[in-house]
Symmetry: C2
Amino acid sequence: MEEERFVKEVIPKSEDLSRWYTYIIKRAELVDYAPMKGMMVIRPYGYAVWERIQALLDRRLKETGHTNAYFPLFIPESFLKKEAEHVEGFAPEVAWVTHGGKEELEERLAVRPTSESIICAMYSKWVRSWRDLPVLINQWANVVRWEKETRPFLRTTEFLWQEGHTAHATYEEAEEEALRIISIYKEFIESELAIHVIDGRKSDAERFAGAIKTYTVEALMPDGKALQAGTSHNLGQNFSRAFDIKFESKEQKIEYVWQTSWGVSTRLIGAIIMAHGDDSGLVFPPSVAPIQVVIIPIPKGDWTKDILPFAEEIFSSLKSVGIRTLLDKRDEYTPGWKFSEWEMRGVPLRIEIGPRDFERKEITISRRDTRERIVTPVRGAVESIKELLSEIQRSLFEKSKKFTEENTFKTNDYKEFKRIMEEKRGFIISPWCGSPQCERQIKEETTATIRVIPLNSSPEKSLSCIVCGSSPSTFVYFAKAY
Amino acid sequence: MEEERFVKEVIPKSEDLSRWYTYIIKRAELVDYAPMKGMMVIRPYGYAVWERIQALLDRRLKETGHTNAYFPLFIPESFLKKEAEHVEGFAPEVAWVTHGGKEELEERLAVRPTSESIICAMYSKWVRSWRDLPVLINQWANVVRWEKETRPFLRTTEFLWQEGHTAHATYEEAEEEALRIISIYKEFIESELAIHVIDGRKSDAERFAGAIKTYTVEALMPDGKALQAGTSHNLGQNFSRAFDIKFESKEQKIEYVWQTSWGVSTRLIGAIIMAHGDDSGLVFPPSVAPIQVVIIPIPKGDWTKDILPFAEEIFSSLKSVGIRTLLDKRDEYTPGWKFSEWEMRGVPLRIEIGPRDFERKEITISRRDTRERIVTPVRGAVESIKELLSEIQRSLFEKSKKFTEENTFKTNDYKEFKRIMEEKRGFIISPWCGSPQCERQIKEETTATIRVIPLNSSPEKSLSCIVCGSSPSTFVYFAKAY
């Protein structure tokens, strides 16, 4: 009901990000609420973004030697229980299948919240020798976590993701893989989604259940809260010991494998929406925009004879070079309605074609991000549009980077820390002694958590913990988080 | 345990298709058995075939105006019950979620066996006016059906598929869509999977639960049994009435929409394996082969200095034109082992490169399907290989078509019908009066069912039913089926 009401009124993003988000995702038909609590329907316009994400990330994963596979949706309860920390972390959020047809199952089955346990059970059958390593498998799948508070894309009972699961002969190789993936995620999110991220390691309190190290990329949202955009875990031998994944080394010794797992999800769509949108609606980076260019012919005079064929010609020339283009020639809507509709839907470039454009063999291009209008001759227009799309992609990233920089603060003073967290929020870089107590105290007093311990950082004698004052300490990133 | 035994011995396909199938799918690492009854793991080599199927079919669906979306995995029991025939058909095979975390759910949730009911619930919110029609949505998803007897790819508790769900303003448009899809399936399966199929309509007994008409494409497998390869349903207004999907027509009348649904699944991988394999293992049609060309350098003399760079050059030139190529330079295996390994795995073309090839700037190509060996100069080799791949694709389809033709019999005599069904099997074209009684009698006495009522066929006075002798009757295709 609440949602229904939102759809009627436009909420400026700058005033209330949360309400704007709830409004725009539905209004732009990215998503709808399913009748079951916490579940979403990803509508075609939203799913097209996911298809772009899949294509662009999948290419990177395949280029680095990974292959895709598919593992079962259901995991027997006994499997989930094999790795103690893992089951403790996930059991409270599991959906359980207890009946198949009319029969009650002997053992109930978890709908996968993540697939380490079923995948490790298979790896223990597949891995025998060093020749079988490394195993570099990824899967694109749906997972279910019984969440109490949900928001479309950001946190839902069911979501789509990719989960990579690798096995290696040595600790070093696993560590290298975990780091390689986090660097792929960073490069992918920054260059394709145009969102600046901070990479680093998680503290033990924020570590994945069952991992020895968790790496993360975190993006700062316009409300100053951090969004965990992707994680990569070095699982050590925790799972290989629990699931008995052993191999004979080149030296003919029987050893447990070293593993990693890593994933990004449909949450990334939420990040794109929040990072780039404005008071008029969505703003898609061209790389992931379902439609990159919309052409709107202006119906004036005998327009089906001159303007429309002209528009169709431009449409074809853009299509033929792979630019995702839509020609909106519906006659039940006015050009004005179409302008604001496609603006709200975040299409990076709009081309208007009126009688004057037709006569002069020109087109008028409008940038969604800057609202700049460019008149350009049809001859060479394809090249201009390609360049504009690259320029928008770059410019959105620069904006995102600048926003993060302007909202990243550094302080050694806990009072100032609290004040910033209350007023502006953002990332705060402060020294931390490494103790879970100090971390917990900050969380309790400010709700901020350690988002990232920068890579290659190490405790310095000259630094005193912002809470307890002890040395050595390390500069880490704090923020409130989604 | 049974499976483990199979892996040790090679079973010729010509002797026992069923045991060959069970053996080869595991030996070639297409699939493995999950620890849960009836569930499979699709390994990278098998999943790569699915990725090809997805890409090739998705392109066709998009070209005909369909878009992808994603609907929830879980369906409340009350939704499933809304369409009476539908729930009756699917309830016995549903996996039920009864608990979320520690809590018992108020209403249990079906893990989708198919998504009509949840999708229709959404369409009733989305469709208001003729302007919203047609809705042409597809989803790629996993579904679960609690099957008693399972076989990897052919019938499994969980499988992957695409399911299209469309809504239209008129009966005619829905009928046209249902037929358009079945013709897309036929063209896709024949040209990309190189499997000849018979298209047509299902009898009422074989209709989808909730449809008014079901269209199908059926392929004849080497054991003379038919495999249903894809179905397309005209749902009429059964679901729109149950889920209240109404729209205002151009004439401002409130009407129920007309719907279709249609799908193909990972079962197609089973069809490819059975249709094309031989006594030495798999034979993949180039269009869907995970690897189209394998290059095996022969390690003789100072091979890393001459043969290997030569092999790498060829590898790069094939890769650069998009041919899926593998250079197998592992030195822990002999060339002989590699030959039979890749033969067993069904790679369409093998290139051997020995010292003589290197000296003469030639390559030796072997066709997997005919075992023909072709020596060709390196200059122009890329073109030769492209042509060979097309030739294999064509030739496999011709072989499949010929097999179907040679195993399709026509008879008006029930005794002969029974004899053929017992001895050779295959398709039998016989006249049928249209009564469910005669259909049932044939099924009970021969286990054969009506696979297809040819499109555009109608009862003819001159034809007498093969069972009861009454007229008019229609020629229909019978077969035993998977």
